[in-house]
């Protein structure tokens, strides 16, 4: 079968890859947006924390025999706990300063994490086996769908929409949104804002680690896997604007799909297409697609 002279199998598989990348963009930009909303900092270490999630899963499996399913819970908890420590010990000292210091601090942390893992594991990358339950694939007639890839999309969308639900529909989410609007007022109403901030940072970091575990069987587990990804995610965040949770999710998915399509039509441009879209958005709608101001 062909559409416009492009085989549906090729189109389908590239769109699938696009959707997978898109769901990683969605989780990561969602985490960045939540953290930015309450802490007013951009977490440059997000990519490193995504990488750490993948490595914790890989170490857990190879050294301790902890399964993929357990790692999906354990890795975000461990990396999230590291995030909580970072917030308590370091970020907390910077809230009264220019927001740029938060960016610089987390940039430094990203360098440290990346360097330590590179020293320990080299840059060649480790492979992580697809769990047995999710191995193999199904033939959809027009294309072959590896089950694991389908699972990644379902799992990440579930987490994204779960997070959206938590923020928009629960009491905790209401505190969080109120804190984003005016944290001094929320504090005055008797809510423990510092604790809320710690929790928010930890949760955002855990989201990144969760994405890392999901990514481990697809990509090579590599110390540098996060750093290039995070810059694309920054562009995604600029395109979407960080004002809306749903906006982050939709922008992430949409850009992943566009990237996949580009890989079919004009492969050479696929690595820069997100940046080109960012330029266009900045020219047409500088606040971002879902931005407020």
């Amino acid at each position: 079968m062909e559409i416009f002279g492009i085989s549906t199998a090729l189109l389908g598989s590239q769109l699938l890859v696009g959707l997978i990348n898109g769901s990683f963009y969605a989780i990561l930009s969602l985490g960045l947006a939540i953290i930015f909303g309450l802490l007013n900092i951009i977490n440059f270490a997000h990519g490193a924390q995504y990488m750490m999630g993948a490595f914790v899963a890989w170490i857990a499996l190879t050294r301790f025999g902890i399964s993929y399913w357990a790692a999906l819970i354990v890795a975000p908890l461990i990396v999230g706990a590291v995030g909580v420590l970072i917030e308590r010990l370091m970020l907390r000292r910077l809230y009264k300063l220019d927001h740029l210091y938060g960016l610089l601090l987390t940039f430094g942390l990203a360098l440290i994490f990346e360097g330590v893992f590179r020293d320990q594991f080299g840059i060649s990358g480790e492979s992580y086996e697809v769990p047995e339950l999710l191995s193999g694939g199904v033939d959809l007639g027009f294309m072959f769908l590896p089950i694991y890839r389908g699972w990644v999309i379902i799992a990440s969308l579930t987490v994204c929409f779960g997070t959206w639900y938590m923020i928009e529909r629960t009491k905790l989410g209401a505190y969080l949104r109120a804190g984003t609007e005016n944290s001094a007022m929320v504090q005055a109403l008797g809510i423990n804002v510092p604790l809320l901030i710690t929790f928010t940072y930890g949760y955002g970091v855990a989201l990144a680690a969760f994405a890392g575990v999901l990514a481990a069987p697809i990509f090579q587990v590599n110390p540098l896997m996060g750093s290039n990804l995070i810059i694309v995610v920054f562009a995604v965040v600029v395109i979407g604007g960080m004002g809306s949770i749903m906006g982050s999710i939709l922008t992430g998915l949409g850009l992943g799909l566009i990237e996949g399509l580009t890989r079919v039509v004009y492969p050479e441009a696929s690595s820069v297409v997100v940046f080109v879209i960012m330029v266009i958005v900045l020219l047409v709608r500088p606040a971002g697609l879902f931005g407020k101001s």
């Binding site: 930015f36 940039f107 942390l109 360098l111 440290i112 750093s227 694309v232 965040v237 600029v238």
Partner: protein, 317 residues
């Protein structure tokens, strides 16, 4: 703060004089290539500091200007066969043009978004440099001849090359010094301190930011083009975001918004990297990261900033 600044300000001509003489005799005491590397990075950091320290704009994409100018200069000198000074000029102009492009886009947003946009644009330049054949991809642009300055002076002699680099650095430094101490520089500071007020006073804030961005980009390019001639190589690592991070670190460590800070920061970081590269290998990145974290947490004034505060405390004034 103000009085110590005034004190340092009054002693600056003397200080500059001493540093200038030190710069003149340095190549006889130290390895010229090492000194040239420091000077290139010092100019790069000074250019960056013009933007962050005096206009309050954090560009996380300055590597794009350093690297692009390096490629342009290298191609012009090696493949077109122009003389070195024309090559450096071409690199500087190219970086200025790229800075104009980046600036037009990035100044549409402020603060954190500005940093992310410049980083993303620079990453785009990185991918282009990786894919375009003219840049040599991962191998970089090798075998760039140093040539003869004005067709006369042989730059293959390290001492001659050093004095060219030193002259370029002094020129760039002078441009930055004059920019900061001009009415234009005062308006930049006003924008940094309170942008809405600057707007309400009738200044076209975007235009001032854009001009500052272009000057900074062009000078960063001048550093990159010179660096290409020194090492006879334009490499992909100069366009990488690591280089953008390094220049932030140099400026932060030396002292943000101080005139000499970036030079001290660049000298410290380049020396550290040279010292550490052999002994600790991949831990260099970790150490750089740790310096970053320490600077942000408890050394935000940087070396020169702390010195100024010390002079103020000891009551020299």
């Amino acid at each position: 703060m103000k009085s110590s600044a005034n004190f340092l300000e009054s002693k600056l001509p003397l200080l500059f004089g001493v540093l200038f003489i030190l710069g003149l005799i340095a190549p006889f005491a130290m390895y010229p290539t090492f000194l040239m590397k420091i000077l290139c990075y010092a100019l790069f950091a000074c250019a960056f500091n013009l933007l962050l320290g005096f206009a309050g704009l954090l560009s996380f994409g300055h590597a794009a200007f350093l690297g692009t100018a390096g490629y342009v200069c290298g191609l012009m000198v090696r493949d077109v066969g122009v003389t070195p000074e024309v090559g450096i000029l071409a690199g500087t102009v190219a970086a200025g043009l790229l800075g104009w492009l980046f600036g037009v886009l990035a100044i549409r947003r402020t603060g954190i978004y500005f940093a992310m946009i410049t980083l993303a644009l620079a990453q785009m330049v990185f991918f282009l440099a990786l894919q375009i054949r003219a840049t040599g991809g991962e191998d970089g642009l090798q075998g760039v001849p140093r040539g003869h300055l004005f067709g006369l002076l042989d730059l293959n002699d390290n001492i001659t090359m050093y004095y060219l680099v030193f002259a370029i650095f002094c020129f760039g430094f002078f441009v930055i010094y004059r920019t900061i101490h001009s009415p234009f520089g005062q308006i930049l500071k006003a924008i940094r301190e309170n942008e809405p007020r600057a707007i309400s006073l009738g200044y076209d804030v975007s235009k001032f930011k854009l001009i500052a961005f272009i000057i900074s980009a062009a000078l960063a390019g001048m550093a990159g083009a010179t660096k290409t001639l020194v090492f006879q190589l334009a490499s992909l690592s100069d366009v990488h975001w690591h280089a953008s991070g390094e220049v932030v670190l140099m400026t932060l460590l030396g002292g943000l918004g101080t005139i000499l800070g970036p030079i001290v920061g660049a000298a410290t970081i380049v020396s550290l990297q040279t010292q550490l590269a052999d002994s600790v290998g991949s831990w260099v990145t970790v150490i750089m990261g740790a310096i970053f974290v320490l600077c942000v947490l408890s050394f935000r004034r940087g070396i020169i900033g702390e010195l100024q505060a010390l002079i103020k405390r000891s009551g020299v004034n």
